[in-house]
Amino acid sequence: MNIIATVLLIIGLVFFTGGAVGIIRFPDFYSRLHPAGKLDTAGLVTTMGALALYTASPFTLTTLITAVKIILIVVFVFITSPTATHAIIDAGVRAGLPPWRKEPEADS
């Protein structure tokens, strides 16, 4: 069980690294929301799955309740993270933020 939890934790950290690099490197606000919304959710699901597996590994009632609470955080983030991303994009569109286009000369 420890090996499965470690592998899942490392996979989740790889997802988080991709999200952070995408937030730094992408040229535009709309394209930055793509790693911020998706890879953070994926990394959180895998790391929380690993931690729930490790928590429930001596299988009693109290550890089972703690693991169910961790899974509940995952369900909550699955509902709220797309909602927050959609709200930020909606604010950007209504404020009239222009999307990024490829310039003819290398400007930025």
């Binding site: 953070d40 959180l44 931690l51 109290t62 961790i70 955080i73 909602t83 604010a91």
Partner: protein, 95 residues
């Protein structure tokens, strides 16, 4: 297994520093909001890692759940507030 959790938490806080760059130097207000949202979703994982290091997971799970809820409400309220503002993209010269 404690060492794995410790180094995972250290790496996660390093990634939070990388996301903090976008929250501090973002060209627009909404870029800062993206950075803050990314930091908040990393924090709820980091809280459970801290709880596993301290052997008190049953307490830190509740804190992580409350933090995820608070992060969602803060981002939603800030996005709804900045939706009303016009000329949001005129903040400073773009590099």
């Amino acid at each position: 297994m404690q060492q794995v959790f410790l180094y995972s938490g250290l790496f996660l806080s390093l990634l939070m520093l990388v996301s903090l760059y976008r929250a501090v130097f973002g060209p627009t207000v909404l870029d800062r909001l993206v950075g803050v949202n990314a930091i908040g979703s990393k924090t709820s994982t980091l809280l459970i890692l801290i709880g596993l290091i301290y052997q008190r997971v049953d307490m830190f799970v509740d804190i992580a759940l409350a933090y995820a809820m608070l992060n969602f409400i803060a981002v939603l309220a800030a996005a709804r507030y900045f939706q009303k503002q016009k000329g949001l993209y005129d903040e400073g010269p773009k590099k």
